[in-house]
Amino acid sequence: MSNNPMLSLRNFSVSFDTARGPLYAVRNIDIDVADGESLGIVGESGSGKTVLSRGAMGLLPKRAAHRSGTVIYDDHDLSQTPRKELREYWGTGMAMIFQDPMTALNPVRKIGAQLTEGLRIRLQMSKTDANARGIELLNRVRIPDPAAVMEKYPFQLSGGMRQRVMIAIALACKPRLLFADEPTTALDVTVQAQVMQLLSELRHEMGMSMVIVTHDLGVVAGHTDRIAVMYAGEVVEIAPTKQLFANMKMPYTEALMKSIPRLDSPSGQRLPVISGRLPDPTQPETGCSFASRCPYVTDKCREATPPLVEATPGHSYRCWFPIGGSR
């Protein structure tokens, strides 16, 4: 096994053609995911985090989405690989858990069929072997009575169960890198914690790398090694998880942090909101993309785009006037 990262994105951008010109959903991203590492990607809706994960995997429709930059997975450059060859990596190398377990499972096919499909087609398992392995996988994601669940349809299961089934499907062919796109957003709070716990355990057991995409800093806090904060298609701050919580530099990260509800805040108190909205991704910006919403904005922020600078090794941010000074 090499010391190179499992996944390495360099100058990675994704744009879509729209009636108003190209829309840059993801811009100039440089991210590494180390072997066995868990990386959180946090940002609000529309910040480009889903496009980033789907784009990195190559799942975006080719006709609509234009990718540029490089994607290196396990020492293979996949940025120019045609979809037919990319498929060889999907499921067995990279896999994805989708946001909504209500829509991501085929409504008219049995759980068993959807779960064992990858095993049979990608790993050429026999029907009996694949079935046995399917039951084992359902057991592993703690689904009670797995043999019966194999014969059920998605609509006969609860949301939490469906999300577990989806995890089992994604992990079926033992991928080395798992993208989890908002894995808990559609679930109840209590189920959210269980599912995150399960994902963490499975990651350690299987020695996988994992990229968790979420809008909720609280979800990834205890389950990631590093966190990248995204805003308007860019990484605005990236740091080891503890470092980020203890010593955030970027006002946007601070604003995200403040918007997490806390048990010890007085009841009836309003949760802080980040006013304004994301900049129009079809219009090129001058200055910092967060300038229009930043509480500490100055003229300099509006005029010049701040580069990504390193505060301490492994902790980079994009701000002229970081919290806690320096620069």
Partner: protein
């Protein structure tokens, strides 16, 4: 119990539809401008006319006569064809002609589906590209040509000029299977082309919609090939509308066979209906139309049951 209940309720509505439609039909017989009995027995004596009136239950009130007729109808006693001198029973005509028409409808559906399923999936997969535009526009043109026009076109080109297929008459499957199919190619193709076009469009729309669903991306992320995704993940959920349309079109096909059977001189059910209309065989016509209504209802229920098989979410709720 909870599984049987919807089926029972379904059967109840079915019965109601049949009873209502046939009841209005029997009322129509009484609304004829001339008396039915006078029409049949133009030269009959008053005694003969009274006897016929009793046989047709026209001496009773509307409801009694309807229920007497319905009882006979269910037992297969559908009266006589009076134009032939009263020698032939309606039932004998039904048993002779109905299987022919049902076969024509079946073959037509098979032809239409065999054309439409691959084309619908293909055009959806290539939506917006040249191949899709060419196929879709061709089919749209084909669907706007009435089926009798297609029939005449085929008769002239394939039948008369090229002499590939016979253009007249019917051969039973038992008599000569090869000739049977050969004789039915032109009628079934004429009926099937328009159907295939509309089926293709229905399926194309549904497949395009299904391709945008999350579960398709999910299936792709397992590393499955496009063809496998289309066939196992997309086609089944997308075929519900097609299936409903196919079943409902069985009813419309009854009308289609009426025209086509007359063009190709096939002694099917449509031919019988046309003949009964032309010769004012109203007694027979009443039973013919009742059978048509019955068929329509049966095809509808079949469609519902099939949809339950294809889409398990609808089981019990329909």
């Amino acid at each position: 119990m909870n599984r049987a209940l919807p089926i029972l309720r379904r059967l109840g509505t079915l019965l109601a539809v049949i009873v209502l439609s046939t009841f209005f039909l029997s009322c129509l017989l009484r609304l004829l401008p001339t008396d039915l009995v006078d029409m049949i027995l133009t030269m009959g004596t008053p005694e003969e006319k009274a006897a016929l009136r009793r046989t047709l239950y026209l001496d009773r009130d509307v409801f009694t006569s309807y229920f007497m007729w319905f009882k006979d109808f269910i037992r297969g006693d559908m009266g006589l064809l009076y134009g032939t001198g009263g020698g032939e029973t309606v039932w004998s005509h039904v048993t002779r002609s109905l299987p022919i028409s049902l076969l024509i409808m079946l073959y037509t559906q098979i032809i239409a589906l065999v054309i439409a399923v691959p084309l619908g999936i293909f055009t959806a997969y290539r939506a917006g590209k040249k191949s899709d535009r060419v196929i879709s526009n061709t089919l749209f043109t084909a669907s706007s040509v009435p089926n009798f026009a297609i029939a005449f076109l085929l008769i002239i080109l394939v039948g008369v000029k090229l002499k590939w297929f016979p253009t007249l008459e019917y051969v039973g499957f038992k008599d000569d299977p090869f000739q049977h199919f050969k004789h039915l190619v032109l009628p079934c193709v004429s009926l099937g082309v328009g159907l295939a076009a509309s089926y293709t469009r229905l399926l194309r729309t549904d497949v395009i919609a299904a391709l945008k669903d999350d579960y398709v991306t999910m299936a792709a992320s397992k590393g499955l090939s496009d063809s496998r995704i289309l066939l196992t993940h997309v086609f089944r959920p997308a075929s519900v509308t097609l299936l409903t349309a196919a079943a409902l079109n069985m009813g419309a096909l009854i009308g289609g066979t009426l025209v086509i059977e007359n063009i190709f001189a096939i002694p099917g059910f449509g031919f019988e209906i046309a003949y009964a209309l032309a010769t004012k065989e109203f007694v027979a016509l009443q039973s013919f139309i009742a059978i048509t209504a019955l068929g329509y209802v049966i095809f509808n229920v079949t469609a519902d049951l099939l949809i339950g098989v294809v889409d398990p979410r609808t089981r019990g709720s329909r």
